[in-house]
Symmetry: C2
Subunit: 252 residues, 2 copies
């Protein structure tokens, strides 16, 4: 198990520059955890005593609300970390709930192990600080997008974010249409109508969760946004932090 | 100047546990900067080479948008830090613009000085990580609130956040009504109508930027929200990080 975990950790962006003996210490403190689809790994606001690395399957990170709706912040896959940037707060609680989307197998590493190693290595602490600084930048972008009054503009900005994140004009919605509508604060019927409108006017093509952006400048123009800039925002995507609009909150 | 700055730094939450010799090093690398009302300290996306501590006056942190509107994320006052959590990213750019709201005097500390000190002290690095972890938690809360479809609910949650932040049922809006409406993604006339409705029904009282929450549970009930919980969310407010809904982005 340990060798598999060391290999998995050293291929993740956060841990790949960590010294081998530190990786071994991290792996020593780990156990594997399995869950069936629908089972919870942890709930929002529970004391956070460990972070996870996904070995197999997919995990939904969501926030429950009082109406019984779930707002899905992110769906994570093998190789992704869960909740590691949440580990440093005091008191330390999970900001989101994590639920197995499929049958999953996860590595569980205790918070204490991570904190001890961070204290020991200034390089690793700086790497963590850089990751978290970038995540806060992403949060600003996301909050900026969410306070755009116009639903069509929010949708276009999100399509562009997905395209940058997936490094392709062919995009796949990581969550269902209903969950996406909730993330963007758009009525589900408006989302579907707007996608169909873009399709009819030749700006994109596709169906369900799979779409191709045919005309990026045209998408911007059609909702009254200026054409996308090529400057700072792209540099951030190069840091490979995952989804811009929703990635700030997945704590991986 | 140095003694003033050391006193100011050691009264800020982030630096108050820093060793005296480190505080002196930080202060040695600092200069004072003055600006008239309306002048910019820095602009969004400019390379970030320094962070600031407000000595006198107020600074608006905002994000310009393509329609020429400004979305004010925060107004900071003497004793507040600006952009220090942005310093650790690579490439390092300011996520927001900072503009003098009044005549201001600021201490400017270079990024290099901060990074050098962080490398030297594991305690300080852990303190920074805790602050940033909490900020990301706040960002999740804020994004959660912003994706609530109902404008009245967003307003009530924001009033409660302000009340917790200001530790009083008497609250002062730190920004104008128009700026607040933009922050909450509510039309200005809706904001004003809703506040008057709450006033008429005896749930709050006040005018302009000054209000008193007369019935917190009633405010929740009137917009269909469950009564406020007393648990984790309050623990976070005790960490004194500033405004919950908008504080995550002021980088102080």
């Amino acid at each position: 198990m340990q060798n598999d975990l060391i290999a998995a950790l050293s291929s993740s962006r956060l841990f790949r520059e960590m010294a081998p003996e530190m990786l071994r210490t991290l792996a020593c403190g780990a156990v594997t955890v399995s869950a069936q689809a629908g089972e919870h790994i942890f709930h929002t606001d529970e004391p956070a005593t460990a972070f996870y690395l996904v070995k197999e399957g997919q995990v939904r990170l969501y926030r429950p609300n009082h109406e019984g709706n779930e707002k899905v912040f992110q769906v994570v896959s093998p190789g992704d970390l869960i909740a590691e940037t949440a580990m440093f707060a005091e008191p330390c609680r999970y900001p989101l709930s994590a639920q197995a989307e499929t049958a999953v197998c996860l590595y569980r590493v205790t918070r204490t192990t991570l904190l001890d190693l961070t204290r020991q290595s200034a390089d690793f602490a700086m790497q963590l600080l850089a990751t978290m600084s970038a995540r806060i930048y992403q949060a600003v972008n996301r909050i900026d997008h969410l306070t755009i009054g116009n639903a069509s503009q929010r949708l276009v900005l999100h399509l562009i974010d997905l395209s940058r994140e997936q490094r392709s004009r062919r995009i796949h919605f990581p969550v269902s249409g209903g969950a996406l509508a909730r993330q963007l604060n758009i009525a589900p019927e408006t989302l579907s109508r707007q996608l169909n409108h873009f399709k009819r006017t030749g700006l994109l093509d596709g169906r369900n969760r799979d779409w191709v952006l045919l005309d990026v400048d045209g998408l911007h123009r059609s909702v009254g946004l200026p054409p996308p800039s090529r400057k700072a925002s792209e540099a951030w995507h190069d840091t490979d932090l995952g989804s811009d609009l929703f990635g700030c909150c997945n704590f991986r």
